[in-house]
C-alpha cells in the first residue's frame, strides 16, 4: 500500500528545545493512532504535516506533494486542532459556512455541507448559538465538524476525543471508523491508550520527539505486558488478601501502603492477577473498597520503554 503521508528524517526544534527528532513515518489509508504522553511531539508532527510549521530538517509530503506553502494540498485535508480555539463571537453555523467559503463552493453547496456536518456532530439544534456559549463537548464537536465539512480524503485529528463525555466519545469513535470504511486516511493523536485502541489497531508510539515503536495493538500490548504493573487494592483486610497471593507466580512483589489498608502488588501479568483477585475476594469474603493502577498510564509505559 502506498503512503498517503510520508515524513522522512523530520526534525523540528524550538530554540534549544527539540520538538521532533529525526522522525521517519509513512501513514497509509485507514486509521493510524499517534500515541504519546503530553509534550511527546504529537502536535508538532501534526503541525508539520498540515503546513503550519516548516521542518528544520527532513521533509514531509501529502500524496506526494510538499505541504509548506502549498495551499492546493489542503483541498483534500481536514484538520482538527487540539487547542480549544475559535472565533468566539460567531454562531456554529456562521463558523462552518465562513470556513467553507475558502473551498470555492457555491452558496447553496456551502449551506448544504454545513448543515450536513452539523447534523453529523448533533449540533443542528444549537447551530444558531454563539460558540462562546457552547459547552466543552459542543466546542469539540464543532471543531470536528469544520474538519469534515469539505469531505476531505485525509483527516488529521489532534486529540479529538478530549473534552467529550463517554457517550460523545463513543459516537465520535463510531464516526471516525465510518470514515475509515469510506476509504479515507485518518491520523488521530491521543495520550490515552484505550481511546486509540477503540479506534484502530495501527499505532505509532511517540515520546520525547522520537518514534519509539510502531505496529499493531498486539505488538504494543506485548511491549506493555513486559512492563511490571503496580496495582493497589484497598480492602478491609489487606494482610489476609496478601496471604492468599503469596504463592502466586504472577506476582513479583507485594507491599503495604502507609494507610495500612492498601495492598500494593507488582505484576507482569495484570489480566491474570485481576482474574485471580475476583476469585479470592469471593472465596475469602474480603471486602474490597477500591482497585487502582497508579502506573497504568502511558507515561509509565513510555518511561519503561525508554528505560528511565
Amino acid at each position: 500500500m502506498t503512503a498517503v503521508i510520508a515524513a522522512s528524517n523530520l526534525s523540528k526544534w524550538y530554540g534549544n528545545v527539540l520538538g521532533l527528532n529525526d522522525v521517519s513515518l509513512e501513514v497509509e489509508e485507514g486509521i493510524t493512532g499517534l500515541l504519546g504522553p503530553n509534550g511527546a511531539g504529537k502536535s508538532t508532527f501534526m503541525k508539520l504535516i498540515t503546513g503550519q510549521m516548516k521542518p528544520n530538517d527532513g521533509n514531509v509530503t501529502v500524496r506526494g506533494q510538499k505541504v509548506w506553502n502549498n495551499p492546493g494540498v489542503f483541498q483534500g485535508i481536514g484538520f482538527c486542532p487540539e487547542q480549544d480555539i475559535f472565533y468566539e463571537d460567531v454562531t456554529g453555523w456562521e463558523f462552518l459556512t465562513g470556513l467553507l467559503r475558502f473551498y470555492g463552493y457555491a452558496r447553496s453547496e456551502i449551506r448544504e455541507r454545513a448543515a450536513r456536518a452539523l447534523d453529523i456532530v448533533d449540533l443542528t439544534d444549537d447551530k444558531d448559538r454563539l460558540i462562546r456559549g457552547y459547552s466543552r463537548g459542543m466546542r469539540q464537536r464543532i471543531k470536528f465538524a469544520q474538519a469534515i465539512a469539505h469531505d476531505a480524503g485525509i483527516l488529521i485529528l489532534d486529540e479529538p476525543l478530549s473534552g467529550l463525555d463517554p457517550l460523545g466519545k463513543r459516537k465520535l469513535i463510531k464516526l471516525i471508523k465510518d470514515f475509515k470504511h469510506q476509504g479515507r486516511t485518518i491520523l488521530v493523536s491521543s495520550h490515552v491508550l484505550p481511546e486509540i485502541e477503540a479506534l484502530t489497531s495501527r499505532v505509532v508510539l511517540i515520546h520525547q520527539g522520537k518514534i519509539l515503536a510502531q505496529g499493531d495493538i498486539p505488538f504494543i500490548r506485548e511491549l506493555i505486558e513486559a512492563h511490571p504493573h503496580q496495582i493497589s487494592v484497598r480492602s478491609s483486610d489487606p494482610r489476609a488478601l496478601a496471604a492468599r497471593f503469596v504463592g502466586d507466580g504472577s506476582i513479583q512483589k507485594m507491599t503495604f501502603a502507609a494507610d495500612g489498608r492498601t495492598l500494593v502488588v507488582e505484576t507482569h501479568k495484570r489480566d491474570e492477577f485481576f482474574g485471580r483477585l475476583t476469585g479470592v475476594v469471593l472465596e475469602a469474603g474480603i471486602a474490597v473498597d477500591e482497585i487502582s493502577s497508579p502506573d497504568d498510564n502511558l507515561q509509565a509505559v513510555f518511561e519503561y520503554l525508554v528505560g528511565e
Binding site: G51, P81, D89, G98, L99, F102
Partner: protein, 263 residues
C-alpha cells in the same frame, strides 16, 4: 482557488466577523465623539443660526487626521495577522486551500473598508452639523470630499504600515503607538525634507489651504503649521506607493515566516 477569488472570500468572511467584535463597537462610539462635540458646539454655544468657523473644522480634522485614523489603523492593521497568532485561530486559515497572501489582503481590505466607513460616517455627520448654515454653498461639498479623500488615503497608508508591523513583530501595538503618536507627531514639524519621512506629511500636503473661504476662518492653519508641502500629485503617488509596498512586504513576510504559538 485563484488568488483574487480567495481574497474575495477572506474579505467576505472577515467583513462579517469584524462587525461582531467589541473593538468595533468601541471605535464606533469613539467616532461619535466629534459628532457629539459638533452638536454641542452648534446648539449650545453658537445657536442654530450661527455660522460655524473653520477653526472648529480644523480641530475636528486634527482629531481625525492625527488621532482617529491612526488609532483605528493601529488596532485593525496590527490585528490582520497578529490576532490570528495570538488567538491561535491561524490554524483554521492556513490549513485551507487559499494562498497566505490572500489572508493578508482579504483581511486588510475588510478592515480598511470598515475603518473608512466609520471615519466617513463620523466626518459626514460632524462636518455638516457644524456647517449646517452653509448647505447651499457648493464649496462646502468640495472641501468635504477633499477631507474625505485625505482621510481615506490616510486609513490605507497607516493600515498598510501597521499590517506590515503586525506580520514582523510580536508586540506590534507598542511599536505602533510609538510610531503613530510619537514619530508621526514630532517629525512632521521638522524643517526641510525630514518631515517627508512621515505619512502625515503627505496627507497634510493634500489639505485645502483656504477651505470654503469661511468668514473669519483661518483655513487649516493649525494643521499646516510648519508644513513644507509636497505637490498634491506627488503626495498621492507617494501614499499609494507606501500602501502598495508595505502590503507587498506584509504578504511576503506572512508567506515565508513561521508563526509559533506561545505555550
Amino acid at each position: 482557488m485563484t488568488g483574487a477569488s480567495a481574497v474575495r472570500q477572506v474579505f467576505g468572511f472577515f467583513s462579517f466577523l469584524v462587525l461582531k467584535t467589541g473593538k468595533t463597537r468601541v471605535f464606533a462610539i469613539l467616532g461619535l465623539m466629534p459628532v457629539a462635540l459638533a452638536v454641542i458646539r452648534r446648539v449650545a454655544i453658537h445657536g442654530r443660526s450661527g455660522l460655524m468657523t473653520a477653526v472648529f473644522t480644523e480641530i475636528l480634522m486634527v482629531f481625525f487626521l492625527q488621532f482617529y485614523i491612526v488609532i483605528l489603523a493601529l488596532f485593525y492593521g496590527t490585528s490582520v495577522t497578529a490576532e490570528e497568532v495570538e488567538n491561535r485561530t491561524l490554524a483554521y486559515l492556513i490549513t485551507r486551500p487559499i494562498p497566505k497572501p490572500a489572508i493578508v489582503l482579504g483581511k486588510f481590505a475588510a478592515y480598511s473598508l470598515l475603518m473608512f466607513a466609520m471615519v466617513a460616517l463620523s466626518l459626514t455627520l460632524s462636518y455638516f452639523i457644524m456647517n449646517a448654515a452653509r448647505l447651499s454653498d457648493p464649496e462646502l461639498y468640495l472641501t468635504f470630499l477633499r477631507y474625505l479623500g485625505v482621510l481615506g488615503l490616510g486609513v490605507l497608508a497607516y493600515a498598510a504600515f501597521f499590517t506590515f508591523l503586525g506580520t514582523i513583530l510580536k508586540r506590534a501595538i507598542i511599536v505602533g503607538l510609538v510610531f503613530g503618536f510619537g514619530w508621526e507627531n514630532v517629525i512632521q514639524y521638522f524643517p526641510g525634507s525630514t518631515q517627508k519621512f512621515s505619512i502625515v506629511h503627505y496627507l497634510k500636503s493634500l489639505l485645502p489651504y483656504n477651505p470654503a473661504n469661511v468668514r473669519g476662518g483661518r483655513g487649516v492653519a493649525l494643521l499646516l503649521f510648519r508644513l513644507e508641502p509636497t505637490a498634491p500629485l506627488t503626495a498621492i503617488l507617494t501614499l499609494v506607493v507606501i500602501t502598495a509596498a508595505l502590503l507587498a512586504l506584509a504578504c511576503w513576510v506572512f508567506r515565508t515566516k513561521e508563526y509559533l504559538y506561545e505555550e
